[in-house]
Symmetry: C2
Amino acid sequence: MNKDDQLFLRRAIALAEQYSADGRHGPFGAVIELDGEIIAEGWNRVVADHDPTAHAEITAIRAACAGRERFDLKGCTIYCSCEPCPMCYAAIFWARLERIVYAADRRDAGNAGFDDDQLYREFLLQPTIQSERLLPEEGRRAFRRWMENPDKVLY
Amino acid sequence: MNKDDQLFLRRAIALAEQYSADGRHGPFGAVIELDGEIIAEGWNRVVADHDPTAHAEITAIRAACAGRERFDLKGCTIYCSCEPCPMCYAAIFWARLERIVYAADRRDAGNAGFDDDQLYREFLLQPTIQSERLLPEEGRRAFRRWMENPDKVLY
């Protein structure tokens, strides 16, 4: 545990509580810290923005990256009012965040009517959404062209 | 396989190829279909938008939901040029999409320098990003308040 972990985590929780008070923002908040300062805050806007991807962590990551004009957050920590769902965990992975600190967990979310625990079980056992693979060669072609493209920016 | 699966999947692949040609958009495309029509298209904008969450599937989901002014896509199918990464799989789950059709897979993506396969292994084995739990009670409080809030919109 770092010195200010509780401070930042409480801010994330405060956001969850502040914005969900109107009933149109899910009860989730997140803040992103770099060098001891909060560089971005996020809260759940799924309903308000008609955006099922607008979880607190995602909105915080998007804000932090926009502010820095970068597509990574190396060296940053994310503080989440609740354990990130698999979508947010993966977004944290892609953003190259280095540390996660959270308060409530997936079971708490489940008890509040959110499906995080079910989604985690899908990843650990068997996906339930129907999936099919078609046209594998045509799909690979895009990758080949990408690999051959001298102008590509790796991320 | 449905009648138009290949048609829609080819459109997703075409988007991947079209937009990644400048090297600033990853080689991934996606389209969302409802009742036999494409209602939204997406392509990877991670680099161009400084947004590590802007995978093709996410941008397609966001566009489809914005267009319908809803936060779910029940009854829709998503066609992806590549197997969705765990972030996108989870976003598909949250959006309540009912079907995924894809062409390239995670190994293909890995071969092109993308970390999808590593990320899938994290979910199946052991997360590698450092995680800690603190303040569980304060985290739960936000959920309790949510549950007690008569104005909340469930999603």
